[in-house]
Amino acid sequence: MVAVDARTATKVVVQATINGEPVQFLAEPRQTLLECLRDVLSLTGTKEGCADGNCGACNVVMDGRLVNSCLVLGVEAAGASITTIEGIAPVGGLHPLQTAFLEQAALQCGICTPGFIVSASELLKRNARPTEDEIRFWLAGNLCRCTGYDKIVRAVLQAAEMIHPAA
């Protein structure tokens, strides 16, 4: 049954795990995961920069994979485990990447920072000591207009060393 009247589009109950917590929310099929996170669940840490997969500001981790949440439907998240920026830091502290971004001044306006930190956290899970080029290739899908990327690369390197200190 398709809603002819846009207002009463059929909502679906979606059950997912978000930042380690079981969550239920209502979503119209057309609402993206990004829209559900921000406007339904008020998790506004995930940002929208383009809505078509070209800027990375909306990146989240879904079932262990980095994805653009603007190109995933909310209803597709049923049964999935999702990590957003709000779930990166441990209780009462910061993730090494968050500390490194602050110490290296790797953000200016900060709108792209959540996306960069989520993306970089996935890189460091796969590659404990990435090179400058490997960091740049992995983060190529995250656009930043303020920093010129230099200090972001330095922050990821510092975080890698904090997580796996050189012998």
Binding site: M1, V2, A3, A6, A9, T10, V12, E28, P29, R30, T32, A51, D52, G53, N54, G56, N59, M62, R65, L66, V67, N68, L71, V72, L73, V75, E76, S119, E122, E132, D133, E134, R136, F137, W138, A140, G141
Partner: protein
Amino acid sequence: MDDFEYVRPGSVGEAVALLAEKPGRARAMAGGTDLLVQLKVGRRTLDRVVDVKGIAELNEIHVGSDGGITIGAAVPCHRVYDHPAIVAGFPGIVDSASIVGGIAIQGRATLGGNLCNGAPSGDSIPSLAVVGAVAVIAGPSGRREFPVSEFCTGPGQTVLGADELLVAIRLPAPPPRSFGHYLRFIPRNEMDIAVAGAGAWVALDEAGVVTAARVVLASVAPTPIEVPDAATAIIGTRGEATALEAASEAAKAAARPITDMRGTQAQRRHLSGVLTKRALAGAIARARGEHVPGAHEAHRVHASATH
């Protein structure tokens, strides 16, 4: 975005029935990285989206005893370039799968979706076509197979019927000493759509002479196009400069590019020659057992040192 009904069938039969019920108003979705963008900007409107990620068969990668591999239509790019057998047997396909969009896009986008989107610039289509890949299609009256090299019929148009579902892509067993290589040209180093692309595949005999070859170009015609003359120019040679040059000229002659915001006709025609030469050289080197890096093995030539 206009609303639509979202369904997630558990079997191929169920999916086919859901598509057949609304011909032209329902469409299969795997990664959705092309489809959702089209729906958002109104380039396509649908009553029903059939999410096929719930169908086991479409998520499988099956390696045959003969070395042939079948890749489910819903297998995302990251599982393709992380799969040892594909990396070993089909490096050209790994070249493509690792440059579709960025890392986040590759978490969702599939080779099946890239093929069904049928864009002339589809990065995976040339590298699948040159290895003789075959599309496994299911419809109301059963299954059929169709060569990838003829799958696209126009910009965004394919042979797939409105009531048909792409189930998998079958890669035939590669003959010995045979590999592919895919290169595209983009103004940036990532996150771009091919201004031009070239997929090449060669098989060598024990003496290192090319016994078989295929070249398919992207972004220089309404569909990806095969260039038989480029293949004949390289067959029987060892990939010397003159042979590569002849193949390059054949590619340029076959190209029918347009001018748009991504590139001019003259630029695309020229690039189709350059990329054919380089893709063939890469394929031949791989067939000889040399390691040829893809764009994802980032080796930008410079040191970032200040001094």
